[in-house]
């Protein structure tokens, strides 16, 4: 086991479990999730990390920040990015991948959502840009890979149909900005959280998938920051500036767990494990934490960042 910058023998490769965190200290850390040891630190110069996503092959992690999306190789010991996507004038707040890795999407404070072509040597480029009236805080790709939900400062959720370029709008609450949007892996539910701590849920059942309002949760008393569904769609986690992460049952929208810790501050991001038994959270107290959802206990802590953790990405491996 090694803690230094050498290529670790375990945990980093594409086919392995990888936990990546990033934040205000301009670094991105790769952790050995089960032991809590930091395997590598990568440099994310000049900017905080707004979002992290591991690509479909598990080889790379994309980090977005001010004016850039940077791609880091998880399998090598290189502390610098290998690819730097630039040309955005402001903060890039969200990033994500199409499931085959053909393209990448982003949303940013320049009031756009973009599609970045990742393919090399194709006769056509599938770059796309989608303009909205307000800075974008959230972008989520529908699992059918044909729509991107774009939400932001204005409180409007735009459903951008990639095939037709049409868009529909949802306004769940007036004068509240959308902070995050999530769609469950089955494509049946959509959740959005706002800066008032409210969570709105729609069902996307019909065809074409029209969102039908389903539930309004007063999830938190303060600013909500993230929402995510578990892989089995039975749980929704919402994180907030009230120093907690809350796990809700999607069956009846009751609160299943409230994850708090004395030292925990704003909880910026969260990720479920493949079997939905554990949940990672990243907090302003510079710690990432792993919670056992069945018992509600704290299983691991990840210490190494000097400043708040604002984004995390987790890739699990099926056995």
């Amino acid at each position: 086991m090694t803690m230094s910058g050498d290529a670790p023998s375990t945990g980093a490769g594409g086919a392995h479990v990888a936990l990546v965190t990033g934040g205000y200290d301009h670094t991105i850390k790769l952790w050995q999730a089960h032991s809590g040891v930091c395997l590598r630190t990568m440099q994310h110069p000049d900017s905080q990390v707004n979002d992290l996503k591991i690509n479909p092959s598990g080889q790379m992690v994309a980090a977005c920040g001010y004016q850039h999306i940077r791609m880091y190789d998880l399998a090598s010991a290189n502390p610098d990015p290998v690819i730097n996507y630039e040309g955005v004038s402001k903060n890039v707040s969200r990033v994500g991948f199409q499931e085959n890795g053909q393209w990448m999407y982003s949303g940013g404070e320049d009031c756009t959502a973009r599609i970045w072509d990742l393919r090399a040597g194709r006769e056509f480029q599938c770059q796309r840009i989608f303009q909205v009236p307000a800075p974008v805080n959230a972008a989520a790709l529908h699992p059918d890979q044909s729509q991107i939900m774009v939400g932001g400062q204005s409180g409007i959720i735009h459903i951008w149909d990639l095939k037709t370029d049409h868009n529909e709008q949802l306004i769940p609450e007036a004068e509240a900005s959308i902070q995050d949007i999530a769609i469950d892996p089955e494509g049946k539910l959509m959740a959005a959280v706002n800066n008032k701590g409210n969570c709105y849920i729609w069902s996307l059942g019909g065809s074409p998938p029209r969102p039908v309002p389903r539930k309004h949760l007063q999830a938190h008393k303060k600013y909500a920051l993230r929402c995510k569904f578990s892989l089995d769609s039975t749980m929704l986690v919402t994180t907030s500036g009230d120093c907690s992460a809350k796990v809700w049952r999607t069956k009846d929208w009751t609160l299943m767990r409230e994850l708090r810790h004395d030292a925990q501050r704003w909880v910026w991001d969260a990720a479920f494990t493949l079997d939905s038994r554990y949940l990672f959270t990243g907090s302003s107290d510079s710690y990432a934490r792993l919670w056992n959802l069945e018992k509600g206990t704290l299983e691991r802590e990840y210490c190494g960042h000097q400043k708040p953790i604002t984004a995390l990405a987790f890739r699990d491996q099926a056995v």
């Binding site: 809590g36 802590e301 190494g304």
Partner: protein
């Protein structure tokens, strides 16, 4: 090999090596008065003079008097002759030997321009490895086919229930010993980019001998305190050696050690609250403070400076019997050591006024210190401590400053019942001395705050 035959050269080199490698500066203090190479140099000059005189009085030489003067200066070699480069050594008489190792050790500062160029070059090299993709606005409308290819709808597969590898790993990996030191993980220097770091070789001296063969290389961020360095060392060690249990970080201290791991017990532990960037040593030994106490009380320190406090035997005894559990020994001994250092240095200029040679009477001490008054003023006093008595003599600088003039004090050592350090802040130390007055057998408590001229912090 000729060099090694030269006593003066050897002496000078040994002396310099001691001074240059000793970051505590103690060697310098000890040897400051006895630069043998200088003594030899002076002897050589005398010898030359003598030989020259001899030659001048030698009858029957064909050379004229003037010639002799010039030639002999160079030709006469004595047993004390140093090598030519000794004269133009880097020793500047104006600065003395005090600042020398600070100025000449380490690398010469490079110019800002060349540093900037280096940085620039490094950044360019780095940048060359990063592929930059600039956003390009879509030029042409995509055809329906192309859209179908890139943005086609995918049939959503219902995710099947899978077993997580992480869950399995977590079950196999129960309690981890390094968790108790987790809070120190953030001081890891290898995990920080752009922050100044410091690397230490740490010998796990407190462990059984078989674990001591190799030092642990530990890199921490430069502003980590010594206690953080201890914590991080424990963290790192317990990750690499989970089978070896370690104790609480509060039980450990860091001491200066040799390259081979031999701890220098003569020095106190490094102050837990000082940033590690302050210290120049790279080899340290992690020791168990509980064991350290017994070692320290042994009279290992035979140096003259330590004996300054030997005349307070009651203080040291009480200091240990009265241990406050919240207070660590390191802090105390460190402060004392610092005070001794400072006092010793202050003495250098002032000079010992003891009649006995230093080596014969190590107990007699005279210090020039500032006595601090409650009125925020201070006056210089001469504090004399011998085996028999303690004496405070005001040094009068301003005759009119009657309001701040301290009284002359003289007490027999036999009447001193107690002496204790109350508080030590920076270069100020408050002492309490309890004295039994002979005249009426009453107990008198004297509190004194002394301030010493502080040394510049060392590298």
């Amino acid at each position: 090999m000729a060099t090694y035959d030269n006593k003066a050269w050897l002496l000078k080199n040994i002396r310099d090596a001691f001074i240059a490698t000793d970051d505590t500066g103690l060697c310098e203090i000890v040897m400051s008065g006895e630069d043998f190479s200088k003594i030899f140099q002076n002897k050589a000059i005398e010898e030359k003079k003598r030989l020259k005189d001899k030659a001048q009085h030698k009858p029957g030489t064909s050379k004229g008097k003037d010639n002799i003067e010039n030639d002999d200066e160079k030709d006469i070699a004595t047993q004390f002759d140093p090598y030519p480069d000794m004269d133009d050594s880097d020793e500047d008489p104006l600065y003395g030997s005090w600042f020398r190792h600070e100025e000449f050790a380490g690398h010469r500062q490079r110019s800002n321009t060349s540093q900037w160029l280096d940085k620039k070059e490094l950044a360019l090299k780095k940048a060359a490895k990063i592929k930059i993709i600039k956003w390009e606005d879509p030029q042409t409308e995509l055809t329906d086919e192309q859209i179908a290819e890139a943005f086609g709808k995918v049939q959503i597969k219902k995710p099947e229930k899978k077993k997580s590898l992480l869950s399995e790993q977590l079950e196999k990996c129960p309690e981890l010993p390094h968790r108790q030191y987790l809070e120190y993980a953030k001081f890891d220097g290898t995990a920080q980019l752009g922050l100044p770091t410091k690397t230490f070789k740490i010998f796990m001296t407190m462990l059984p001998e078989k674990h001591q063969n190799y030092p642990l290389i530990v890199c921490v961020i430069a502003n980590a305190k010594i206690k953080d360095l201890i914590g991080f060392t424990c963290y790192k060690y317990s990750i690499e050696n989970p089978e070896t249990p370690l104790g609480s970080v509060h039980d450990y201290g860091l001491c200066i050690a040799e390259d081979d791991g031999e701890v220098d017990w003569a020095f106190p532990c490094l102050d837990n609250n000082e940033p590690c960037s302050k210290f120049g040593f790279t080899c340290l030994g992690l020791i168990n403070l509980k064991h350290k106490v017994s070692v320290v009380t042994q009279p290992i320190l035979d140096m003259e400076m330590n004996s300054a406090f030997q005349c307070f035997p009651k203080a040291s005894v009480s200091g240990h019997s009265n241990v406050n559990s919240t207070r660590q020994h390191t802090g105390e001994s460190d402060e004392i050591m610092r005070a001794i250092n400072a006092v010793t240095e202050g003495n250098k200029g002032f000079g010992f006024q003891s009649t006995q040679p230093i080596t014969d009477a190590p107990q007699d001490k005279l210090y020039r210190v500032q006595l601090l008054h409650k009125m925020r003023t201070s006056t210089p006093v001469q504090l004399g401590i011998t085996l028999d008595q303690i004496e405070v003599v005001p040094v009068v600088t301003q005759k009119h400053a009657f309001w701040s003039r301290p009284k002359y004090l003289l007490h027999s050592m036999n009447s001193v019942a107690w002496c204790q350090e109350l508080e030590s802040k920076g270069n100020k130390t408050a002492f309490r001395i309890v004295i039994q007055l002979h005249s009426n057998n009453q107990i008198c408590i004297k509190d004194m705050t002394l301030s010493v001229i502080r040394r510049r912090p060392r590298r």
